[in-house]
Symmetry: C3
Subunit: 447 residues, 3 copies
Amino acid sequence: MASKNYYDVTEWPVGNPYEDIGEVINSIIADIKSRQTDTDVNKGGKPGAVIYIPPGDYHLGSQVVIDISYLKIMGSGHGFTSSSIRFNTSENEWADLHELWPGGSRILVDIPLEVNDEEYKGAAFYVERSGNPRISSVEFSDFCIDGLHFIEDGSRETNPENTYTNGKTGIYVASACDSFRITGMGFVYLEHGITIYHADALTIHDNFIAECGNCIELRGWGQASKITDNLIGAGFKGYSIYAQNFGGLLITANNVFPRGASSIYFDGATRSSITNNRLHSFYPGMVVFRGNCSENLVSSNHFLRDHEPWTPFLGIDNGLDDLYGLLYISGNNNSVIANHFSEGINTQNIKPVGATPVIIRIVSGNGNYISNNHVVATEVHAKISDSCFSAQVDALLTTEASEPLTVTTVLVEKESLQNTILDSGSDAQVVMDKTLNAFRATPTPGA
Amino acid sequence: MASKNYYDVTEWPVGNPYEDIGEVINSIIADIKSRQTDTDVNKGGKPGAVIYIPPGDYHLGSQVVIDISYLKIMGSGHGFTSSSIRFNTSENEWADLHELWPGGSRILVDIPLEVNDEEYKGAAFYVERSGNPRISSVEFSDFCIDGLHFIEDGSRETNPENTYTNGKTGIYVASACDSFRITGMGFVYLEHGITIYHADALTIHDNFIAECGNCIELRGWGQASKITDNLIGAGFKGYSIYAQNFGGLLITANNVFPRGASSIYFDGATRSSITNNRLHSFYPGMVVFRGNCSENLVSSNHFLRDHEPWTPFLGIDNGLDDLYGLLYISGNNNSVIANHFSEGINTQNIKPVGATPVIIRIVSGNGNYISNNHVVATEVHAKISDSCFSAQVDALLTTEASEPLTVTTVLVEKESLQNTILDSGSDAQVVMDKTLNAFRATPTPGA
Amino acid sequence: MASKNYYDVTEWPVGNPYEDIGEVINSIIADIKSRQTDTDVNKGGKPGAVIYIPPGDYHLGSQVVIDISYLKIMGSGHGFTSSSIRFNTSENEWADLHELWPGGSRILVDIPLEVNDEEYKGAAFYVERSGNPRISSVEFSDFCIDGLHFIEDGSRETNPENTYTNGKTGIYVASACDSFRITGMGFVYLEHGITIYHADALTIHDNFIAECGNCIELRGWGQASKITDNLIGAGFKGYSIYAQNFGGLLITANNVFPRGASSIYFDGATRSSITNNRLHSFYPGMVVFRGNCSENLVSSNHFLRDHEPWTPFLGIDNGLDDLYGLLYISGNNNSVIANHFSEGINTQNIKPVGATPVIIRIVSGNGNYISNNHVVATEVHAKISDSCFSAQVDALLTTEASEPLTVTTVLVEKESLQNTILDSGSDAQVVMDKTLNAFRATPTPGA
């Protein structure tokens, strides 16, 4: 390779990437900055560089600090495996396992943390730059960031590997950023997978982000970005996808597994789209709009809510009851059109006891348009298994012999007015003041 | 490259990749296994490797057998071209062609096969491992797998290159797998492109899989996977996308061309999504739900069915008649919302003669919700051409001067009850027992 | 690298890639052609090659001419930054900017152009080949094409960097092509980003194409292609996405920003899908169907139209007034289902003065199906800012305290008949001959 802008962490003379890849990458970044000093040389000057991480196990003890644009960090393998299954396998079986750890181009996040450290200090990759322009076109591609272990968090959880707590973050972007790309990555066993403040034109595409306390958090504010085609699944305490004060966010083609406390959580997000995703959860509150979320579109999504089938997480939930709604809306002028909702639960588990579960719930705000959603609610007798995989598959494929479950398909609270509810439930299934909201019942067979 | 976990097939000392890349890759895998022997060394141990295939023609005589996780095999070119057009071009024109064969990083599948060999023996890449954990994060990226020729299959097909039969498979995964990725690949002239048993969290994204007998087959059972953003088109005998006993599958953003016997075939698939695809077929039975497929969502898809315009395949079909339905449903509680259906056929070709073609057909199962689908049916006089490309483009763009064609937009068989059919056809176009199913006709202009 | 089919522009002995990468790549292509001469050697012969461009600033003075299949040109960084913001920053602040130019693997298009040169002469990459087969599987991946500057165009625009005019094109494909791929690229400050004639099975996926006069133009005719998951935003004079005489095009999962004259423009396109996109514009005419566009599906899109908030472009528009429609349809049998439309404008800015703005407008053609679209129209008092980013974010997030705005949600002109308009506006909001078109009003709260 004749170009000085291509770096391989295993060939860099400073540091040992297997012992501390953070030191190596920081040294490379320093080298780029020492070579690319002038902003305007013959119409160029700071093109950045690519840092390649071949497959291997790389401990990261020093946080990587990125403050240059056009830096691409890439590996050759997202390396996901289920650490959750491994850590919930009896230790006496470990000797028989083919692998114990994730792999690929794998960063082992080994940053020493103090109890009261600020959150960002636990980030493997920390991006921050003040001044102008906003840092642009930093790319992360095709490698794995592994937090290794969760730890005791003071909860009653007996296996510390199930706490989803360790103070570690994969990628943390602290300052406003433009045109970043995160693609083909694997994130596992981090308390926070990706945390980004003030994003513009961000791409989070085709990643595998699972068994993290939280997966994707877009904080502060942001605009015109996309979260597309990812496999995602947070822990029971956290967010799978979270967006704060965001406009023009497109969330599509994601397959969001359990067991996040929510699948998608909007806090003051507007004019954004949640379309065409497959969402699966073990709890209510799958999609939540808080803080006056307005003019968003929720369309062509498949919502599935059923019960936890895997032994280690039995009895755990997100604290919400069945009156909360699978889709919870606070805000104005949102559209909820052409979604499918499947709720398969055991009436004995309904909270509060005897309640009629709610599917779509509008708690405040006016002018929402809820149309042509199909709700399938069935009473199921969930099976429980020690095998995570077969338990889920069994549950997913069980549709025979299920009894209908009475639900409220749409509940509009009194604080919300002027909504339009069409073809999303029968007269009995839609609970609201029908003089203050518009309504057309789904026609009923035989009626 | 200082890392031992990066391999280039053209630099490996064992075997000759141009003569038998299978021998080379198997030797590399053996090397990885000999070096990565310990499952737990300083929190790692088996990170896997990447094997790079530069552009070139690589014969594969020995099947590649993969039984390690975190192996990535990548090239630099999906290399698709239409072998079908080439093999249906007169041989005396071949000398004038710029290229005769596909290219890129191209595997030529030359495995010697016996007539009664089991299917998996014809696979270029065979993945199998028993024990725990399931084999994880094997990745195939950016190369081409070419089956070279189809062969005589005893049918009346006069050109053996049009049989879609040769006993060859591109990638065959026999045992349960997790977090596999297949991206940026090209598959051509294989009897089976991708065959995967027992998939979990599988990604099949942004590939070109065409002119294969079957393109994607997910067999056995599986869950929580995605087939997204692919260009796909099987032969007239086979599946473009097939899924068996699958839960939580997301099929979206695919452009599925003719001439598969079906575009998407579900056998006992549940709680899955077929959303936002463009589907084109020359036969009925475009999307088929067999074996009690329940709680699936079919939304925002564009269905187009018209006639074969290309001379070599005239007279061939998938054996289904026009009463079968473009969308055939056996199952409960499915949602079919906001789809567009275009059927442009010649009344003289309708089978049985004089029949009224069916668009959506529910043959069994209850509680399906069919809403806001738009059916456009026109009588067309299909043109036929010796040029595959111009024939299709002409047909696609011909919409002028077409006469309306009478169709049944929704047919609910007597075995199916309690369905809801809304705004998906006029009273005359929706055929069912309207006392046992709910119905609202699409309003008619002037009515 | 033992393979001769892998080239690195920085290692090639002919030319200097930093001075003229065009000369280098053309020399490499000549080398490929000199080595790969035979079309049929042991079932192969012309596999093509990959040309790698490491991160860096590469001037291109000589146009790259591509006439071989299976050529992949790839970099390691899409390198986008906002040149528009930079060029609208006061020059005396430039010294304080971290970067002035885009980066990554960056091509600086420096082709000397004469005033009356034909358009293709300004293309950095020019693809053309006559004869058969059509040129196939050329791939562009992960690099940046930068047009550097816009120039005076005779308009009243005072800053020539805001004209979106410079005669430069990124990629220009002149002859029929098959199975091309453009992925992970950045395009900036080009008059035309991607111009492709006669495309078949084209993939334009996951690119960043912005601040170009026009972004994607598919000309002539074409079929069975996809434009997916891109970030796109043309200049005020041009097309973000344009398709001519195209059948079976799938446009999905794109986030299309302002300020293109249109977001998506179809000229005679048929049986195509615009689904699941996020579209944002400062002008009417966001999606335009001209020239008898028929049997297309527009579904699950989020349309947002508001006012320009950034000082440098105040007062500029695309020349269309508010009666034109955000979605303009000329054609038959199209489907418009389950879309969200937000229009937030200042009544004082409405053109013509006092007019009632139109959202969906059908000007000609019959049989269109417009169903379950939600229109949110509000009076806003747009803020203006010298900061491009904060101005847009502020506007996007402002939904409080907005007053409803009276609009025509659907206008069907007299030339168009037999359309069906359902649940897309009240009786007053839908303007058409209700005896010649079918209509069902969205139920009104309290009615």
